[in-house]
Each structure stands twice: as structure tokens, then as C-alpha cells.
Subunit: 143 residues, 2 copies
Amino acid sequence: MRRGSVEALDALFELASRLGDLMHTDLAARELTPARAEVLLVLRDSDRPLVQRELADQLRCTPRHITGLVDTLEAGGWVHRTPHPTDRRATIVELTTTGVAAAKRMQRERRQAAGALFRDLPARDVDGFLAVARHVLDRLNHQ
Amino acid sequence: MRRGSVEALDALFELASRLGDLMHTDLAARELTPARAEVLLVLRDSDRPLVQRELADQLRCTPRHITGLVDTLEAGGWVHRTPHPTDRRATIVELTTTGVAAAKRMQRERRQAAGALFRDLPARDVDGFLAVARHVLDRLNHQ
DNA sequence: TATTGTTATACTCTATAACTATA
DNA sequence: TATAGTTATAGAGTATAACAATA
């Protein structure tokens, strides 16, 4: 077996866990959670409004779960629901001004955090890290 | 900012998420969950029996949470509680034979999975990946 | 007075199943 | 008959606060 594989896997999980904790704390200060923040980012990344079903597909979760997330986000003023113009079963979810601002801010902070984490590493090393990560992701996805 | 930083961070989270899903599925087939499996692994890695308080410290969670995890693990026959010989407030948690077998098996499977994921990459690349991961972890831990 | 583990309570993530309205 | 979203229910991760027994 490849030397260092287990260590690499351990480091990967440890890293994800620590970064996840940090994110969680930062989001909590703004009354958000990782799952709810993810909804905002998906809406922000989309070039058009999404229907709840599409949100469920993109977040890989159940429609039922989306109902709850959107309920909370709507109550907090981040998104609002609109009836679909032609399909009366469907509900369009759109970011409010507040939601757009929150998503923008999260994107900016993510860029800054990424920059800070890898700052004093040679570009070559970061590229190598990314290449390995993508290689492993490919393995997982196709097969 | 370092080019590729954001992509590296994204890939890292994606990877952790996919691997986490796989683990979750595998563990569920054995009536375990990630949190409960972690208890077994910590006990297995320790050279001596641990008290619940020590488990909470090592898992970075609350003593209350440990109570629940150990309750379930004990009911399932993976661990058993023993009164501490000298400190009557404390409770020692030890793996049963079943628990030891489960922990061993998880360790073996983790080694195999790690090997499979990184198999067709040059050792140099895996080492580089690990070095970057550890560098970033250091940044997070000390500062 | 401090510590160990517990009861009580609560929020969040996530899922399945049954149901309503609509396509 | 299939689909979108909801109500109902449930398990799991995780936390804080209050408390009893013990150190």
C-alpha cells in the first residue's frame, strides 16, 4: 500500500473538521447554520431563481428538508417564496436584498480564508494539493 | 492571493463530504454511526481504559454527549461501564470483545480505503498532499 | 469549592411515509 | 399516474443549565 495514505486521509478529515467548526462559529454569529448558508450560496450561484425541488437536487437532500430550511430563511428575511407563474404546484425561492448581501459576504470571506490558509505555501504545492484532491474525487465519483 | 486557494478549499470540503457519506453508509450497515465509531476508535487507540470525562476531552464534546453515546454503545454490547476503583464519581468505559473486534475491523477498512484512494498516484504527490494538509492544520491549531 | 456524570431541555441536520394540490 | 411541497414522525449530533454525589 502507498506509504502515507492513512496519514493523508486522517489529515484530510481533521482539516475538514476544524474548518467546519470555524465556519459553524462564524455563521452562528450571523444567525446562520451551514445548511442554511449553503442554500443562500446555491441561490446566489444560480443564474435564475430556483424552485424548491431544484434546491433539493443541488443540495442532495430531500424536498422535505428544503421546506424546513426555506421556512427558517424566509422567517429571517434572507429569502422569499413566490408562486411559480405556470406550475401551480411549484414554489420559487429567491434571495432578498439581505440574502444577496449575506451570500456576497460569505463568498468574500471564503476567498479571504482560503488565501490566508495557503498564503505562505509555494503555488506549486497548492496546485499539487488541488490535483491530488481532484484525482481522488474523480475516483469517488466515477466508480 | 494565492491562485487556486479557493478551489483547493472547495475540493477539500467536497472530498470530506463524499468520504463522510461513504463512511456513514458503511457504519450504518453495522448499526454504528460516525460519532459512536469514534468512541470505539479512541478507546482502542488508548493504552488504558478511559473515564467518560477523558472521552469527552478527546472527542472535543460535552460530557453530556458522551453519556448518550456510551448509553447506546453499552446497550449494543460494544462497551461496558465499570465504577472507578478510587474515584466514586467517575465511570470507566472499556471495549467488550465485540467492541475490540469492531474497532479492529474499522481500522483495517480505513487502511484499505486509504490505499485504494491514493493507489495510482506517485508517492511524491501523496507526500506533498499530506505536507500541505499538515501545514494548514498547524496554521489552524497554533494561532 | 470543584469535578463527574446525569436529568431536562432545545436546536439542528437529515430521513421516510402519507397526503394535498396540481400536472 | 407522476410530481411539488407539506404535515407527521423519528433518529442522530450537539449544546447549555441545573443537580446529585463525591473529591
